[in-house]
Symmetry: C2
Subunit: 733 residues, 2 copies
């Protein structure tokens, strides 16, 4: 079908869409926006800087030969990086053509597109295979889609510059076949295009965007409503399915960051092209919610490490896109400008300029991190993640508590795991993914095999492993059919925040129940954590409970034996093969403490112990033939031969270690004693005594939950009665 | 002798000194300075902030009970930290009394001094023993001296406030006996007071300062000219002996930082009290030189890790003192203001105000790091440290080359070792000291035993260990009688900087000769290093040459075997007991490469190898029963059974790893081949070929050095003739 004919059909069928469909540029930039940007240059230094960055890329490109190599290499390799560079260059040059009117930029885009159009029909599937959906320009169809998203923008910007003959050549040889390949090139690509998954989002965004530029309603509708155009798949359906009602993306924050890019990008295009769809209001403004949720899933601007994750900050381009576009479509949310300020860059588009202008006008509402419960699952009924925060912004204590569904192929077997940040540092980290993205010698930039043998396994996380076996025996299919549940939570009292989760299916016949509270109290220097982990079974098991910590070990109440001339791996499978056993200890004391230093603060874990408890200090790094792991330390409690056991621990930041001023204060835990006074199906009752002789009583209910239910129990011959799911009080004997 | 009588004698004997001797305050603050500070409040925000910090300390102190505990604990323990806190509080309160006139501050100082004066006569030696010079208030006489330096300032500030009776009581019971104890309390203290060592500097500064406040010429002269007042010891003599003519302090930069505090502090006091001594001009302005040298011994404001060293930046209070006082006494050196700006704090004193005022007036000359050769030894003839720098300020490549004398008790056995920084990161680090300063559970804050068994040993450093034995068999007495030598250096051509050092005595019958060049060249992305390490002997030896690296291993040309289920320590002594052997490799190739990533850049070592070469990947952490070590990795070359061997290596930063933009460029070394074309007593000739087919020839002379000597040698049948000690050129066949 010829473009002209198509446009004609569009005009007849879709009167509202026409106005916008014919306009170029019309994806990220509009003629009005271009005019505004031109008249704004020199007024908004950070926006100017972003323009300059594009200019640097485009000017560099203009100086070089246009090279469009035959696809050959995987991620990190030459042809991969070259094609990636090419789309950045085209997008930059196209945008600059609009802003400056310099025809050289447009010629560059046209000439490169012509080269791609010459090559594309000759291409078979990419020779490097990454997944079962190979691309043509890249090793994965996913990367082809990303290429097309950027290139659609470039083409949109120079559309009116290119003569009709060349346009026709490019569309016929490159864009149509590519859109066809991505959406329907083979059964795998078809499946991905119609899948509820971030790869599907990239695919629909790519096809939809090039469809809009070419004025091809068929492609646009395919993108919006799925291959069958029945709305059962496609971009709009993804909005229904891929986010929970709280805007949480089931794969976790790292992939939420990645997915948000095509979501917000394509949504902005839809908003420009079919404003009547009110895409940003769709499903109670789910996309705007998702952006807010994403920026909340961070500590000091660094996205949480949950499931497969690498280090990513607010400054990544995808979050710049997300924030600028979210602000443009929700200008009342001025706290987004505070993020834009931290990002120190803008998308060079209508949305970016809107954010830059507003920021200049000092319309900022300071962005603040909140404590949040983010429900998982399309309907919000598949568990969730709790984020508990306390203390001053920069030095905030932040604890995440994970009780979600599996999280698709990037999920980890880490039910009820916690991560702790404090004072600007990651104190009890999650390992994240074992991957060296785009580093070719590291398994071609893929996830390494240790991602599966280590990163995903339960023992790699701050939660309980039963019988040295991962949750659901590390079977994703099984794990994906279940989810943990949040039993109760209360995050509204900033002095006492609590969340309680349960996992009934990770091990047959074993119930895991964890209740974690973050407490600000005048008798403690900093917010501290009470952590109660109950394991219940009718049969005998061995429990391993690791605390991965960052920093230098300082002291412990244990009389441990460390291996100094020889180390052995702790096990042979399920992640244990990746731990060196560095030291072991037993104790006859009812309490055990372990202290380390990180930054200028000390941290202690004080935990209830008994003569049956075994303690291990381990270090990641065994079973690592290719130097793929980070060799980080761990303090681990093993409780063998138990049917029921409850770990009760206090995780406490304390003191000051100022090496610059050579000042040390409070290097010891302030906890004198932790006692488990009661632990049954109704209640767990814990008493804490500090070294300054303050006592605290904490009770969590273990069943019969309800904010308005009244409970009572007898402690030390005294009746204690309380309403709701928990009780915490300074204790008087 | 009563104070009044003494002053009378002083008046008679020392007419010039009188004027100043009677003035209070007169140490750091002068009446003129106080007046100026008062009228400046509110004008210099950073200075105000420093005043506020003192105010916070002092006001907090005023609210609390005055507690002067009986000395009991070591560093990090309660009484230690309390007494330290007390002197900070007194100094702050004294200073604020001068600035605000509030008598509560003065009362506080007086009352605390009275308590000290009551306690001091009852004290024996401190019960916790650190060194053979125990203190009374602290575990070391050193700390007592530091206490007195601060307290002398406090006393000076409130001198006129305290009535004569109380002054007399305080001086008689506290200051006189303390000054006496520090300078002459026992034979050890006497020896330290008269020793050419930083402990002696603190001791003389303390005694001299309290002497000035009390108007006691005896104490002052003792401090300035030694116990015998003959100038053979004492503060002035220290200026002759403890710094090299280049202002380098033989213990190394970390201790230069510590020593500079009493040096500059006391010098400022002397300048105020006896300006006729022109102390800052003494010995060609050695103190001002020493401050400049100190700030040059840093990378991005972090003091070099050489010998015993922990992390210290420009922001430490001692460097704030040094910079403010240096500027006050050398106002032409406005680049110091750039350091003051980075420090973001000032001493609340005449000097601090002078710096703050000048900084406000924008008199800054940007501080720049230079390449430098710092000679060691009183006469500058005991080897030295070369600092080679290239590239943009923040991302500068910086290589240190150590060929000094031993460096007293804090010296390491690391002749000809190098350290490399690049792109803001420490790439090839020096381990520094094994110590947790002021952390009581870590060997009471002392150096741990691993400082001796690991930190000081040769194998812990980026230099060659012969026969698995440390230099001088780790015997400090022997090591201290020798020093390495700089054979030649040229740091003036920013495109090609070179230094060559030799060590003839570390091993009997073995000569170590290292020549290292830092090169900026258009065929390389970043400055790179050529490193030629020659070992010469008539007998057979085994050589170990480690490269400690920071970052994640990426790739190597070696087919290595890594231990995955069991690790063993590499050895049993001389530091080898602290290395886990992680992997081994052999090769039949003439070149070997090893690549890692740190920050957003890749690094490769390319090195000449042969079938006799053994390669080991090791990790620090064995033999560490108390978790005192950092578990860092190392790439090590072993050349067994050689009489003569020359290691030739290229250390090359390359590429870009931008995880935020997901861009990877040039992850492989650009070196294709390194050849050793000639290696004899006259010349070492190296040819380097890049993967882009560029060739370079480098020659270093190994004897017959001289900038004007002409050498010639035949390479590839061509005669190459050159003047000076080296030759480097793009090579044409």
């Amino acid at each position: 079908m010829k473009t002209k004919t198509l446009i004609l059909i569009l005009i007849l069928l879709h009167p509202l869409a026409i106005l916008h469909a014919e306009q170029h540029p019309g994806l990220f930039l509009t003629p009005k926006g271009v005019k505004e940007i031109k008249s704004s240059l020199g007024k908004y230094p950070t926006f100017d800087k972003s323009v300059d960055e594009l200019k640097k890329i485009a000017d560099e490109a203009l100086k070089s030969d246009i090279i469009v190599p035959i696809p050959k290499d995987g991620g990190g390799g030459y042809t991969h990086e070259k094609h990636k560079n090419n789309y950045y260059e085209m997008s930059a040059a196209g945008t600059l053509y609009q802003i400056t009117g310099r025809t050289q930029y447009a010629q560059f885009v046209r000439d490169m597109l012509m080269k791609y159009a010459q090559m594309y029909p000759t291409l078979g599937l990419h020779p490097a295979v990454k997944s079962d959906t190979p691309g043509k320009i890249f090793w994965q169809a996913l990367n082809d889609a990303v290429w097309l998203v950027h290139t659609a923008n470039a083409y949109d910007c120079v559309y009116n510059f290119i003569n009709e003959k060349d346009r026709s050549y490019i569309e016929k040889n490159l864009f149509y076949p590519m859109a066809e390949f991505i959406s329907n090139g083979n059964s795998k690509n078809y499946a991905v295009f119609n899948k509820m998954h971030n790869h599907g989002t990239w695919a629909t965004a790519a096809v939809g965007m090039i469809g809009y530029v070419m004025g091809n309603k068929e492609l646009v509708d395919r993108a919006l409503y799925g291959s069958n155009k029945d709305g059962k798949t496609g971009f709009i359906r993804q909005l229904d399915v891929l986010f929970s009602p709280d805007g949480y993306y089931t794969e976790g924050p790292y992939y939420q960051r990645y997915a948000i890019w095509p979501f917000m990008t394509f949504a902005q295009v839809i908003q420009n092209k079919q404003p009547e769809l009110n895409i940003f209001s769709y499903r109670d403004s789910i996309l705007l919610k998702a952006v807010n949720t994403l920026v909340q899933c961070a500590y000091n601007g660094e996205i949480f490490f949950l499931n497969d994750a690498l280090t990513k900050t607010y400054k990544t381009q995808e979050i710049v896109y997300a924030v600028d576009i979210a602000y443009k479509n929700d200008p009342a949310n001025t706290s987004l400008l505070d993020i834009a300020r931290q990002q120190e860059s803008f998308v060079v588009s209508d949305a970016g300029l809107a954010a830059a202008k507003a920021l200049k006008k000092n319309k900022i509402k300071p962005f603040t991190y909140h404590s949040l419960l983010l429900r998982d699952g399309q309907n919000g009924d598949e568990g969730g993640i709790a984020i508990l925060r306390a203390g001053e912004p920069d030095k905030q204590t932040c604890l995440t508590f994970k009780a979600t569904s599996h999280g698709l192929s990037h999920g980890h077997y880490d039910k009820l795991s916690i991560v702790l940040y404090d004072n600007g540092n990651n104190i009890l980290p999650d390992y994240g993914a074992v991957r060296f993205l785009n580093i070719e010698p590291k398994n071609a930039g893929h996830y390494t095999k240790e991602n599966y043998s280590w990163g995903m396994q339960t023992i790699a996380h701050n939660t309980v492993t039963v019988d040295e076996t991962s949750h659901f025996d590390a079977n994703m299919k099984v794990s994906s059919t279940y989810h943990s549940d949040i039993q109760y939570s209360n995050l509204t009292n900033s002095d006492f925040q609590i969340v309680s989760g349960v996992e009934n299916n990770a091990y047959k016949g074993v119930q895991l129940q964890r209740t974690t509270a973050l407490i600000k109290n005048e008798d403690f220097e900093f917010p501290f954590t009470i952590d109660i982990f109950r394991v219940n079974s009718d049969s005998v098991h061995s429990l391993d409970f690791p605390f991965y910590y960052r920093g230098q070990m300082v002291s412990t109440s244990l009389d441990y034996q460390k291996y100094t001339t020889e180390l052995k791996a702790l096990g042979t499978k399920n992640g244990y093969q990746h731990l060196w056993l560095e030291a072991t200890a037993k104790t006859d004391k009812s309490n055990t403490s372990f202290t380390w230093v990180n930054g200028n603060r000390f941290y202690s874990i004080a935990t209830i112990s008994n003569t049956n408890s075994q303690f291990m200090m381990t270090r990641i790094g065994a079973g690592d033939p290719d130097f793929n792991l980070r060799y980080e330390p761990c303090f681990m409690i093993r409780q063998p031969n138990v049917k029921k056991h409850t770990f009760v621990s206090i995780i406490e930041p304390h003191g000051l270690y100022d090496l610059s001023k050579e000042v040390t204060v409070n290097y010891q835990t302030s906890i004198a004693k932790i006692e488990l006074l009661k632990d049954d199906h109704e209640f767990t009752v814990v008493r804490i005594q500090t070294k300054t002789n303050k006592s605290f009583l904490m009770i969590t209910v273990n069943s019969n939950f309800g904010d308005n239910k009244v409970h009572s129990t007898i402690i030390d011959s005294k009746n204690i009665s309380f309403k709701g799911n928990y009780y915490f009080k300074k204790y008087m004997k």
